[in-house]
Symmetry: C2
Subunit: 603 residues, 2 copies
């Protein structure tokens, strides 16, 4: 039977077989868990998603969150959703036991997160932002801040947010202007505006804990003068009493998608009575924020892949049920007397489906791969190991954020296409997913920003050490896959592509060495497309090799078609996607400089 929004068997195969997440449980930190308890957790998330999330995805689009009389109103079902999610411990899933968390591996939690987002991508952001902001308080706050805020966030009685963007600054965080003026007390006076604040307010929480980037009066210009503050909507006055903290909701952004997930405009201190408590040290706000960034970016990419997953199964169901057209006979003709065939029997529909499957499962595998490195970084005992996993994470994070965001758009466009005219109509889901996913390439740093990060920072960092480590991981996969004759050609192709990466970098790096960074980075986004395709190619080869081994060993718990389909989809990816890398490499290495000094009159 076609799954509703995610194939749980594929998710578990990637989790347990491809990435061997059980190996993580050997670490002291995860020693409370075994496969049975992990499965139990995933199953409870699946049940929650089936019953509480997925049934409301269409309604949340039809009845968007809205702003009225100074408050944001979200879909009424959130009352029950937030209650249940609080009970399930989702906010603290990866927190330590001592902080009230479940101390789960990130890899497993991201798998759970994938399920929830695929079920209803409008919802899990409310959990994720509360979790992220609670995590910042736990990591950098003093005991009082922890005690005051975290317990109520853990059970979702209170919501948490991240307030970065300002109207005049957008992605440029060095231009944050929200002002924090010191007082004689333990707090600062906060004044400024923040926009695009996801989950910024709603009727089902009686308090919100905003983590606000602001500049302490007199702080240096740029990113090195940005601090992080805890700014509650209602501040505690002792004895469990609260007073309004002059953090006003000024409006809701009306969006083309993810309409159930509110996006608010918050004005702090309009009446000069907004208090904020410094988190950690002054002027280190951005570095604190960035310690959360890898996870936030993995989660954002995950959101994209999971929406694409839901769209894939939606179009697959249609393709399996809709009769239309006929197969061609050997004269290239159709016989109109024959019954129509199901559209899934047309090669072009199969191409559209495999292309989706390749994007969805390839992205899923990369997401769990990076989450696995996150767990390894935390649990490794040696500094060298820790650094290895840290660097792997650094180089993969912009890719795992971007590939599902950009390719997810194409993937869902394919889902729309399969439904023909119905794909454009509100009666079917693909059009909603098509609108929902378009935000992913903008959240948490746009594709352009991720690409600058990849090429400008991650490729060059520590003299290319991160890329070197990634190449070692990829070569390991190539070695494993090469054991199987029919995987060998694809392993060889991946090896050629690794050399191509070196060639591309060797060609453009001299620009950076000559101080021409603009030239070096001009086609960073094309480089991202190139690298992303190769990295997903790596994940597919890894997946195919494990599938092949499972078939050879005969010890899989799925029908053989399951494993064969993984190998088949790997071949599809190499035939239809990896074929693009040479052209992309050529573009990155071009000598035309067409986007650098060009006159504005040319547009």
């Amino acid at each position: 039977m076609t799954p509703d929004y995610v194939d749980i068997e594929t998710l578990k195969f990637i989790l347990y077989n491809v990435h061997q997440v059980e190996g993580l449980l050997e670490a002291e930190h995860f020693s409370e868990y075994d496969k049975t308890s992990l499965d139990l957790f995933l199953d409870s998330i699946k049940t929650f998603s089936d019953t509480a999330l997925h049934p409301y995805i269409k309604e949340m689009d039809e009845k968007p969150s809205y702003f009225k009389d100074g408050n944001i109103h979200i879909h009424p079902q959130f009352k029950s959703i937030l209650n249940t999610a609080g009970d399930l411990g989702i906010v603290g899933a990866i927190f330590d036991f001592e902080d009230g968390g479940m101390q789960l591996p990130s890899t497993v939690f991201q798998a759970a997160h994938f399920i929830m987002n695929a079920a209803n991508n409008h919802v899990p952001g409310y959990f994720g932002l509360t979790s992220g902001s609670a995590n910042l308080i736990l990591s950098f706050g003093n005991q009082e801040l922890k005690d005051t805020y975290v317990p109520n966030m853990l059970d979702l009685t209170w919501g948490g947010t991240m307030c970065l963007t300002e109207p005049q600054a957008g992605s440029s965080l060095s231009d944050v202007m929200t002002l924090a003026t010191p007082t004689d007390n333990d707090y600062y006076q906060i004044k400024g505006q923040k926009i695009f604040i996801s989950a910024g307010d709603h009727q089902f929480s009686n308090n919100f804990v905003h983590l606000v980037l602001a500049r302490i009066k007199g702080a240096p210009a740029g990113t090195k003068g940005v601090s992080l503050f805890v700014v509650p909507k209602n501040r505690p006055t002792g004895n469990d009493k609260f007073t309004y903290n002059d953090a006003a909701i000024a409006g809701e952004f009306e969006k083309m998608g993810q309409k159930g997930y509110c996006t608010t405009h918050i004005v702090f201190g309009d009446n000069n009575d907004c208090r904020g408590w410094l988190l950690g040290e002054p002027n280190k706000g951005l570095s604190y924020m960035f310690q959360m960034m890898n996870e936030a970016r993995i989660s954002t990419g995950l959101m994209g892949a999971s929406i694409a997953s839901a769209a894939y199964y939606s179009s697959l169901r249609y393709a399996n049920e809709r009769p239309q057209g006929r197969k061609l006979n050997s004269s290239g003709q159709k016989n109109a007397e024959e019954e129509q065939t199901l559209i899934i029997n047309h090669p072009d529909i199969k191409r559209l489906l495999f292309s989706q499957k390749a994007t969805v499962e390839g992205s899923m595998s990369l997401i769990l791969q990076t989450a696995y490195y996150l767990d390894k970084e935390m649990t490794s005992s040696s500094e060298e190991e820790k650094e290895k996993y840290h660097l792997l994470l650094e180089i993969l994070t912009p890719i795992v954020k971007t590939y599902p965001a950009e390719q997810g758009i194409q993937s869902i466009s394919n889902a729309v296409q399969i439904l023909g005219g119905y794909g454009f109509c509100f009666d079917f889901m693909p059009q909603q997913y098509y609108r929902d996913i378009r935000i992913i390439a903008l959240y948490e740093g746009t594709t352009g920003i991720q690409s600058l990060d990849l090429l400008g920072r991650k490729i060059t960092m520590k003299k290319g050490k991160a890329l070197e480590l990634l190449a070692i991981e990829i070569q390991e996969t190539i070695k494993n896959a090469s054991k199987f004759d029919d995987l060998k050609p694809f392993a060889n192709t991946l090896l050629e592509n690794l050399s191509l990466v070196q060639k591309v970098i060797g060609t453009i790096m001299p620009h950076a060495m000559k101080g021409n960074y603009e030239r070096f980075l001009a086609d960073a986004t094309v480089f991202m497309d190139f690298m992303g395709t190769i990295v997903i190619g790596w994940q597919w080869l890894k997946t195919a090799a494990v599938a092949k081994q499972t078939l050879a060993d005969g010890n899989g718990n799925q029908p053989s078609a399951f494993y064969e389909s993984k190998i088949h989809t790997m071949k599809f990816f190499y035939t239809y996607e990896i074929s693009k890398t040479k052209g992309l490499a050529k573009t990155v290495m071009n000598n035309e400089e067409l986007t650098i000094t060009t006159s504005k009159d040319y547009f």
Copy 2:
């Protein structure tokens, strides 16, 4: 100043300089016109678009057409729009004078159509469908049908529609089941349902003339048993009186875009009182319809390119006004003390803009190129010439329908991206264009169907004659461009790509010759992507050569940056797009057969 939705100077440059439309006026058929009168017509359309169409595009999205009490209601502004369009003679623009038309060249009319669609893509379909259906009646109807229906359609007092799709058949017209039962009178009794009927009904026309594909009782199965009928909503009873013809509006399809352009569900003969009049001969309905199809498909591609045009200028305005971020210095650092730069100064934003410009203007040029062939086909005096232009049209039509539809999506996605988070919000236009354009790859034959048409029919027709003629046209452009040293490398690249087309076809044709048509056509859509890119590359080289010649002659009426920008954008297209053709060719020539016999269990 940045245009609002279309650059009229570029449109005229492509019209008069690149395609030399004035040459058409030498034909007797167009002898009433000169450049001044053509300009006058285009200017009147621009004024109409500025004042009556563009101001309402956002409102038409916000207040969609809807169904209530058996009727469709469209935006109130349509009352005045339809009146003015009727006065301007838009419906009959290309009809003969004797039929009440303006006898304009198609090339000029498509230029006008581009302007109107770019201004407001929700509107011109109402004119176009009335025009298309009136044209069918003029071409194949008897005098009585012409006299009864056409005059009221010409001034848009009545609307016209094309009723092809049925719920069970979709794109498969051989499965049309609407039944036409002969009577003893001159009419047939019509019974059946049609869906996705654009402009099918509204409050501002007191009658609709539906052109309905139906099967005469006892007709053969498949396409060879399909006839075409004129089925009015209200039928004439003599003396200018009318009675309801049992053609009921059953609903409106709610869509994610083009919401002002209604899409209706019509039920014919539910009370057994729906009369239809046969157009032309029985069982020839589809061939009649297909005589209009080239124009309809050019117009559909045009709609895609024009929406992309509006989105391009929308994002260009933003890029020219929005300060954000800073340029990197020679140490790869930014100086936070500096003022922020306009985002148009970032190479990645320039890349996103050039990519849009390349798609919009390249598509515009191909659209006018095909319309030009349409005019040449009609006005050529020799049969050989006529056949030449007919075949060129045949091979280019699926491409001109598809390229702007598919690449237009990417183009508008780039516009969304330039606006960052605002791109996802209803306050700005790109998100609307992004939703609007998604239907273009589905209208008038999906991309899959166009691709089968291109590879399965057009490439092979008359032993490859159409492709041969196209290659001659392309070689002519290569020859002209090669005169200029700095265009020569690009001319050479285009020549290599022409050889690559031959190689690809030579590789896959044997499958067809062995009777394995499914294998031959399996990657038709990838082949379409490949061919489309090359054909747009041809148009860009042609444009660049004309721009270069104009600069050399020093006789252009635009500043030199205008012509330089065309050459620059050509280089951009070759560097960022033509670089993809080798990878696409490789995919088409693959030997994996991954989408043909695959088990359904693989999904």
